[in-house]
Each structure stands twice: as structure tokens, then as C-alpha cells.
């Protein structure tokens, strides 16, 4: 197993000397290829900041983030954009599909900005749509789709470029429980069948229980780590709840 992501001693400060907020305070961990890692924490714990730093949307104050032997904290300008579009896939809480484009166009956009030949794009889109079961809605606009469908289109857009890591920020946050389950099953499919490495931020224990490993963050520091191992999802879910309770009810909005 290769290490695809290594986060080493990352710090992210906001504000100035007199009023300093440490959003990330020396976090280190690594993600192996094919892992499905969940990051949990209360709101304000720094989990989204962490994801933003890894996905190069935000900059770290100090420390290193290495994706596939590249230190992304050193990338600048168009190299950053190139890295983002070639190595990373994104799935956002509010889908972030472009409302003017059909599902097909939304998915293909990720490839067109890589300047891939149109013939190849068409084939890739069909392929990924088939795998995620969204062939029927390819010609629909976001406003014609249900939340779950939108999220799966977003999945397809994130996966179509064969990224090193797929970043998911509260992917179930805007979904009802049935759609959430369907989405998470697609995540599992991506992870197990397509060997995608997934890094998912959530504060929902149920969502987190689909992951192989969970990192808990509190006040910008790594607080605990849970590995699913051979547990069933239900057992894993119970262990997660235990940790959440241990966190002292601060994560009171679990489930």
C-alpha cells in the first residue's frame, strides 16, 4: 500500500498576534491508497479547515501536506489549479453543480478543463454514469433532480478524472436519510470497486460509520482515531458513538 496523503505537523492560524485563533494546531496523519477515511469533530473544531488545506483551497501557516510525493503547500498559481483538477476530486455539501448545465455537462466539465479529447470525454461520462446508475438523468438539469441524484452526479464529476483522493465535505448534510444512505453506498462502491481513496468530513456518526477509519479532531488537534477493522457497520457505529460521548457531548448534534 502506498501513502497517497501525508499531513505532517500542519498548523493554520487566523487573526493576528493579539487575537490568535489556532484552527489547526499541529495535526499529523497519513492516508493509504484505497482507504476511506472519515474526519469528525464538533463545529469549530477545524475539520473543514483541514479539508480546505489538503484540497489547496486554503493555505497552511506551517507544516507539510504531501500528496503522491508532491508537497502541495509549495505549489503556486496555475500549478495549484493543475494539481487540483488532476489529482483531486471534490464533493461538496451543497452539491455545487452548475445550475445552467445538464448532468452530462456537469460531469464532462471536469474533463474539458483538462483539455481531454471530446471523444474520450463522451466515453468516460457514459462509463461513470453507468457505474453510479445515473444514465437516465444525464440530460436533466440540477433543478429537475432529487438531492440524492444531484449528489451522485457530483460523485461522478469528482471521480471521472481518476483522482488520487476524493474530498467530501459533509456530503450528506443536505440529504434526507434515504438519499444519504444511497449516496454512502455509492461511496462504498467507489471505494471498494474502483479503489478510490476518500477523505470525508462529517459530524454525523451514521455517515462516518461507512468509513474504514475515523479521525476525531478537537480544537484543531487530533483527539482520537478509530479503525473499523472487522467490525460490522453497526458495531463500528456504536464505537463511534462512544467516542462522541467521550468528547463530552460537545458533538451534541450527532445523528
Amino acid at each position: 500500500m502506498n501513502t497517497v496523503l501525508e499531513v505532517a505537523n500542519v498548523e493554520k492560524y487566523y487573526g493576528n498576534k493579539s487575537n490568535l485563533t489556532k484552527a489547526l494546531d499541529g495535526i499529523s496523519f497519513s492516508v493509504e491508497e484505497g482507504e476511506f477515511v472519515g474526519i469528525m469533530g464538533a463545529s469549530g473544531s477545524g475539520k473543514t479547515t483541514l479539508l480546505n488545506c489538503v484540497s489547496t483551497i486554503d493555505r497552511v501557516t506551517s507544516g507539510k501536506i504531501i500528496v503522491n510525493d508532491i508537497d502541495v503547500t509549495r505549489l503556486r498559481g496555475n500549478h495549484l489549479n493543475q494539481f487540483r483538477r488532476e489529482e483531486l476530486g471534490f464533493i461538496f455539501q451543497d452539491f455545487n453543480l452548475l445550475d445552467t448545465l445538464t448532468a452530462y455537462e456537469n460531469i464532462s466539465l471536469a474533463l474539458t478543463i483538462q483539455r481531454i479529447s471530446p471523444a474520450k470525454i463522451h466515453k468516460s461520462v457514459k462509463e461513470i454514469a453507468d457505474k453510479l446508475g445515473i444514465e437516465d438523468i444525464l440530460e436533466k438539469y440540477p433543478y429537475q433532480m432529487s438531492g440524492g441524484q444531484k449528489q451522485r452526479v457530483a460523485c461522478a464529476r469528482a471521480m471521472i478524472t481518476n483522482p488520487q483522493i476524493v474530498m467530501a465535505d459533509e456530503p450528506t448534510g443536505a440529504l434526507d436519510s434515504k438519499s444519504a444512505r444511497m449516496l454512502l453506498e455509492s461511496f462504498q462502491y467507489l471505494n471498494q470497486q474502483m479503489a478510490a481513496t476518500i477523505l470525508m468530513v462529517t459530524h454525523d456518526a451514521f455517515t462516518a460509520s461507512y468509513a474504514n477509519r475515523i479521525l476525531f479532531i478537537k480544537d484543531g488537534k487530533l483527539f482520537n482515531e478509530l479503525v473499523r477493522g472487522r467490525d460490522t457497520r453497526k458495531e463500528f457505529f456504536n464505537r463511534i458513538i462512544e467516542v462522541v460521548t467521550l468528547l463530552g457531548g460537545e458533538l451534541n448534534d450527532v445523528i
Partner: protein
């Protein structure tokens, strides 16, 4: 407190809507400049005949100003309307905080008041400065020598501007209050989250509609450009209405099927952000078809009005120099019962005019005509082509004839070419292009004319350029020149005299003008002095030019401003979309390019259709103005294009840069 909010709001939006303020300021300034003409210093130095013309011009500009203020009012209300729409969420927040609609209206009143005050103050300031340049322009146009420079300020124009714009801002206030009072809180709050329903049109319907409206336009083009003479005034209105409708339908249908066409070309569609750009345009065209139509029509007006206005002015000027080689033309047309045999100079003396006022080289000649030579005979079957364009011509009208030796003396005085003719030859002078065209057909055939049994053949295969009488422009429909022996004294219908004054200084010319104009008309003497021709022509062409520039620029800035504002306000809606693009890794340069394309296409769409409209519109103007001369001058079209490029292009660039700033979130 409320007033403070107003001030802060303006300061905030000043950056985003700089274009709106600029347009308001420009509108105020232009309005002031054109209404301040009456008190221009230059006007006081003008001769009395020119003053008459200027008075006419000021009355006309006053009328045009009412029209202009209607356009500006439309612009302001329209622009303001979507500025309000964009701020609904802000008003929603005020209302959740417990502010009443009355208080929100008060905020808006404060804002409008401030904007109005600001734009009026700056606009008037710029206008007063601009009026100084205007006076230089007027001086140049009327060729007056100004004794000394005086600062020009027009009180009337100043208050008129304030009054007109005050009324416009009041209208805006009413509109604002009404649109706020109609809104419910939930609408206001969710205005930002609107999920625009993109109604897809059926491509087949769109293509059919497109073809139908293109065909309709084709018919209209044919009507105005090829057969304008068959139209009566009543049908103009219908044609304009149908033209607007066709324009609207073209944009509407184009938005529907253009996308489908491009989509088929996967190579292009799936390249870079092209799919995104096209979808952006498509989603917006659906909602902006009306605005596009308005802008297209405004641009069309700009191009046509400016280009033909400048063209007419130029053609006046060019012909004027050529057409007025001497100081005075005097004609003698004998009243009923008097002999035509008397020469003009004798008649003038009879009437008590002192011939020493002329230089010695004056030319006094006879004009002849006979029933044996009428227009119907000389032009033949093509006479209808001529009479339909020139109401004053008729098939039964005898052609004017002059003797060769007489004409050559005149040509020498005028500094024009002198001719020679064989015994059995004739030549024709004509300088109206359309009449010349028909005459040339006959001359080319070598058409012989018969006078008293003797036949004469044409010396040249086409009409020669020339004239007897000085006119404001080229409107000599034809004069036959025959060898002296061929012309019978019995045919004499009158006399003609051309002369330069003996005294050439300004005062001398003025005095002689008065003297010659004092000769009784009843005696059959008609004089036309250069001074009169020049001032009539100058005055007319200046009026046309001023009105053309005034209207053209107002149309242009209104159209461009609407487009720019619409694009800018939409850019803030699009900010999220561009953020998504950025997150999935699109380069800045790629995003900028797509933004450029998008705005570029939006500016180009109405422009291209407007250019097509103008091609035919100008053709129409040309046909209607044929007697004035050639109005479709290349130079004036180039000037119009340059004005368009600078102003419209300027608006485009400002919009692009502004949008870029907005989507970058800076």
C-alpha cells in the same frame, strides 16, 4: 440613521455600478450642452440670416430634447429597476429586523436623492466645461471670427436640465416605492436563492420561427431599401413595429436552436469551458431577449442617424464649395406679357441697380427652350425612373438650352471646363447621379435630337458635369448645350447673369447683397447670392449634424449602459458558478477567457443584427435623400464606426473588467 444607511449603500454600490453613474453623468452633461446652444458666445457674432437658422436649430433641439429625456427616463427607470431587484435580499434583512416598508422606501428616497444630486452636480459641471468646446465647434462650423474668448454659461439650460432630470428621478422614486410595496418578506429573502427555471424551447419550433422572422425581415428590408417610394407615411409605423417584432423573435429563437447546433459539434462543445459559456448565454438570453431587442434597435438608430447625419453634412460642404463659384446669380423670368428678349443687365439697370457694383467680367446670357425638345423625348422610356424620384420633373417639361459660346464664357468665370462642338453636335450638363444614369443610357446609344428639321448627335457618351445656377447641392437635372447657330432667338425664355462683386471685403459684400436683393421680384428678377446659399446650406447641415450627434450618442450610451448594467448585475449572480469552476481546478486564464467570450457575445449579438439593419436602413435614407446628394459616404460610416467602437467598446471593456473583479470576489 436611515439616511446614514442610504449614504453607506451608495458608497458600497458606487464601485459596482460605476457604469450607471457614469451614464447618468454623461446624460446630464450632453443634455446641458445641447440645450445651452442659445447663449453661446459665437451666436452673438453671427450674421442675421445665420441667426435665423440658429433660432430654428434651437427650437428643433428643444423638441429633440423632450424625446431624449424620454429615452433617458426609460434608461434610468429600467436600470434602477434591476438594481432594486438585486437588493431584495438586503431589504428582506431590513424587514426581518423590524423595519417597515415605509422606512425602506425612505432609504430608497434618500438614495435616489443623493444619486440624483451627485449625478446632476457632476454632470452639470462637465456639461458647462463641455459647452466651452461646443462653442469652439460652433465657431468652426459657422466660420465666425470670435473677437475674444468668453466663458459660456446658459441659465436656461442649467435649470432645464435640473427640471427634466428632477422629473426623471421622481419617476424612479415612484417606481421604487411601488415595487417595494408589492413585495412580501418571503419573496425578498428568497430572492437570492432563486432557482431559475430554464425552459427549454423545442429546437424545431425555434428553427421554424427563426426562418419565419428572418423571412419577415427580408421582406421589410426589401420594402425599405429597394422600393421605398411605394411606401406611404402610414406604413412606416407598421414597418417599424414589424421590424421590432422580427428582431425580438430572431433573438428569442436564436437562443433556442443555436445551442442545439453547437452541441452537435462535440469537438467544440466539449472544449475548455465552451459548454459552460454557451449554457450561460442560453440561460440569460431566455431572460434578456427583450433587453437585447431594445439595445439592437438603439444601436441601429445610432448607426443610421449618426452616419447619415455626418454624410449629409459632408455632402453639403463638399458641394457648397464647388457649387458657389461667384458672388451672385440673377435670373430674369419675364412676367406675363413682357418680352423675354431683354438681357438681365439691361433689366437690372431699368430697375435702378448700378452695374458698377459688379466686376467687369460678369456673364449675361440667354436661356432657351422649345417644345421640340422635352424631357419625355430625351430620356425616352426611362422617364418614369426619373419622375418617381424627382417630383419637380415631368415628361412634358421642355429641356433648358443654352448657346455654346454663352456657356463657355460662364465656364471661364466659374473656372470650369470649356467645350467645343461640331456643327451637328450637342452635349448635356447634368449632375444628379440618378438622372445622369438614365440620360447616359440614351447618349450611349447616340440618340439624335431634331430641331427645326436639323438633327444633332451627342458629342459625348455621357452627361458632362456642370451647372448654370448656383445651388446648395448638386441638383442640376440637365441642360442642353448646342452650337450658337442652332439656337433660335425665338426660343428665348429668359436671361441669366453671374457676377462677382466689385468690392470684396466683408462690408462691401454685405452692402451689395442688400442692394441686389432689393430689386423688385415683380419685375421678373430673381437673385441668389452666395451668402444666402452658404448660410442656408450651413445652417441646415449644422442642424442635421447636431441633432444626429445628440441623438446618436444618447441612443448609444443608453443601449450600452443597459447591457453593461445587466451583465454586471448578472456577474454577481454568477460568482458562485465561477467559484465552483475554480474549485474543480479551472485556471484563472480559462475562467477569464470564458467570461470574455460570454460578455463579448452578449455585446456582439445586438450589434451584429443592428449592423445588418443599418445596411438597409442607410440604403433607405440614401434613396429618400437622393436630391441632397450622396449621404452614404465611406468617411461618415468610418466615423460612425469609430464612435461606436470607442463608446460601445469602452462600455464592453468596463463591463468585462468590472465582472472580472466581481467574480474574483475582490
Amino acid at each position: 440613521m436611515l439616511f446614514k444607511l442610504s449614504v453607506k449603500n451608495i458608497r458600497k454600490s458606487l464601485k459596482d455600478y460605476a457604469i450607471y453613474f457614469m451614464t447618468l453623468i454623461l446624460g446630464v452633461a450632453i443634455f446641458y450642452i445641447f440645450n445651452s446652444l442659445d447663449s453661446q458666445q459665437a451666436m452673438t457674432d453671427l450674421s442675421s440670416s445665420t441667426k435665423e437658422i440658429i433660432r430654428l436649430m434651437i427650437t428643433m433641439l428643444g423638441g429633440v430634447s423632450v424625446f431624449v429625456s424620454c429615452i433617458l427616463a426609460f434608461l434610468i427607470v429600467y436600470a434602477n429597476n434591476f438594481l432594486i431587484r438585486r437588493r431584495k435580499k438586503e431589504f428582506g434583512v431590513y424587514m426581518t429586523l423590524g423595519m417597515g416598508k415605509g422606512q425602506i422606501s425612505r432609504i430608497l428616497v434618500g438614495e435616489t436623492f443623493l444619486i440624483g444630486l451627485l449625478s446632476l452636480a457632476v454632470g452639470l459641471f462637465i456639461g458647462v466645461l463641455g459647452a466651452q468646446f461646443m462653442s469652439v465647434l460652433v465657431v468652426k462650423m459657422f466660420e465666425v471670427d470670435m473677437e475674444s474668448y468668453v466663458f459660456v454659461f446658459s441659465k436656461t439650460a442649467f435649470f432645464k436640465t435640473i427640471l427634466y432630470f428632477g422629473i426623471m428621478y421622481l419617476a424612479v422614486l415612484v417606481f421604487n416605492t411601488v415595487s417595494i410595496s408589492k413585495c412580501s418578506l418571503i419573496d425578498l429573502l428568497s430572492a437570492g436563492k432563486k432557482t431559475e427555471q430554464i425552459k427549454m424551447k423545442k429546437p424545431a419550433v425555434c428553427i421554424l420561427l427563426f426562418l419565419a422572422s428572418a423571412a419577415l425581415l427580408g421582406v421589410l428590408y426589401y420594402l425599405v431599401a429597394v422600393t421605398p417610394d411605394k411606401l406611404d407615411t402610414g406604413s412606416y409605423g407598421i414597418i417599424i413595429l414589424l421590424g421590432c417584432l422580427a428582431t425580438f423573435l430572431i433573438f428569442w429563437s436564436l437562443s433556442g436552436f443555436l445551442l442545439h447546433m453547437v452541441k452537435r459539434n462535440k469537438k467544440y462543445y466539449l472544449k475548455d469551458l465552451n459548454a459552460f459559456v454557451l449554457r450561460q448565454i442560453n440561460s440569460k438570453v431566455n431572460t434578456t431577449v427583450f433587453a437585447m431587442t431594445v439595445i439592437c434597435i438603439m444601436l441601429f438608430m445610432t448607426i443610421t442617424v449618426l452616419s447619415s447625419g455626418l454624410g449629409i453634412n459632408h455632402s453639403f460642404r463638399v458641394s457648397l464649395e464647388e457649387m458657389t463659384p461667384v458672388d451672385v446669380n440673377t435670373e430674369y423670368m419675364p412676367p406675363e406679357g413682357e418680352s423675354a428678349g431683354i438681357s438681365v443687365s439691361d433689366k437690372l439697370q431699368e430697375e435702378g441697380f448700378d452695374l458698377t457694383a459688379f466686376q467687369d467680367d460678369y456673364v449675361d446670357m440667354g436661356i432657351y427652350a422649345t417644345d421640340q425638345l422635352t424631357m419625355g423625348m430625351t430620356i425616352g422610356e426611362n422617364i418614369d425612373e426619373v419622375t418617381k424620384n424627382f417630383m419637380f420633373l415631368d415628361a412634358n417639361l421642355p429641356e433648358d438650352i443654352v448657346k455654346l459660346s454663352d456657356y463657355n464664357r460662364l465656364a471661364k468665370l466659374y473656372g470650369r471646363e470649356q467645350y467645343e462642338l461640331g456643327d451637328g453636335e450637342y452635349l448635356v450638363l447634368c449632375n444628379i447621379d440618378d438622372v445622369k444614369l438614365q440620360r447616359d443610357k440614351m447618349l450611349k446609344k447616340g440618340e439624335k435630337i431634331r430641331l427645326d428639321g436639323v438633327s444633332y448627335s451627342p458629342r459625348y457618351e455621357e452627361c458632362q458635369d456642370g451647372f448654370l445656377m448656383m445651388m446648395t447641392n448638386r441638383i442640376n437635372p440637365g441642360i442642353y448645350i448646342l452650337p450658337d447657330h442652332a439656337v433660335k432667338e425665338a426660343w428665348r425664355t429668359g436671361g441669366f447673369l453671374a457676377a462677382n462683386y466689385a468690392v470684396q471685403d466683408k462690408k462691401g459684400v454685405e452692402e451689395t447683397d442688400i442692394k441686389i436683393n432689393a430689386v423688385r421680384r415683380e419685375s421678373g428678377i430673381y437673385s441668389n447670392t452666395r451668402t444666402d446659399i452658404v448660410s442656408a446650406s450651413m445652417g441646415l447641415s449644422t442642424i442635421i449634424t447636431f441633432v444626429a450627434i445628440y441623438l446618436g450618442i444618447i441612443f448609444l450610451i443608453s443601449g450600452a449602459a443597459i447591457l453593461a448594467l445587466k451583465e454586471l448585475s448578472e456577474s454577481s449572480d454568477n460568482r458562485e458558478r465561477y467559484d465552483v469552476l475554480r474549485k474543480i481546478g479551472a485556471d484563472e486564464s480559462m475562467i477569464n477567457r470564458s467570461l470574455f467570450k460570454q460578455i463579448g457575445i452578449f455585446f456582439l449579438m445586438p450589434l451584429s443584427l443592428a449592423v445588418v439593419h443599418s445596411v438597409f436602413g442607410l440604403q433607405f435614407v440614401r434613396k429618400m435623400m437622393i436630391t441632397i446628394g450622396e449621404v452614404n459616404r465611406f468617411g461618415s460610416i468610418v466615423t460612425t464606426a469609430a464612435v461606436l467602437l470607442v463608446i460601445y467598446g469602452g462600455y464592453f471593456l468596463t463591463t468585462y473588467l468590472g465582472s472580472k473583479r466581481i467574480i474574483q470576489g475582490k
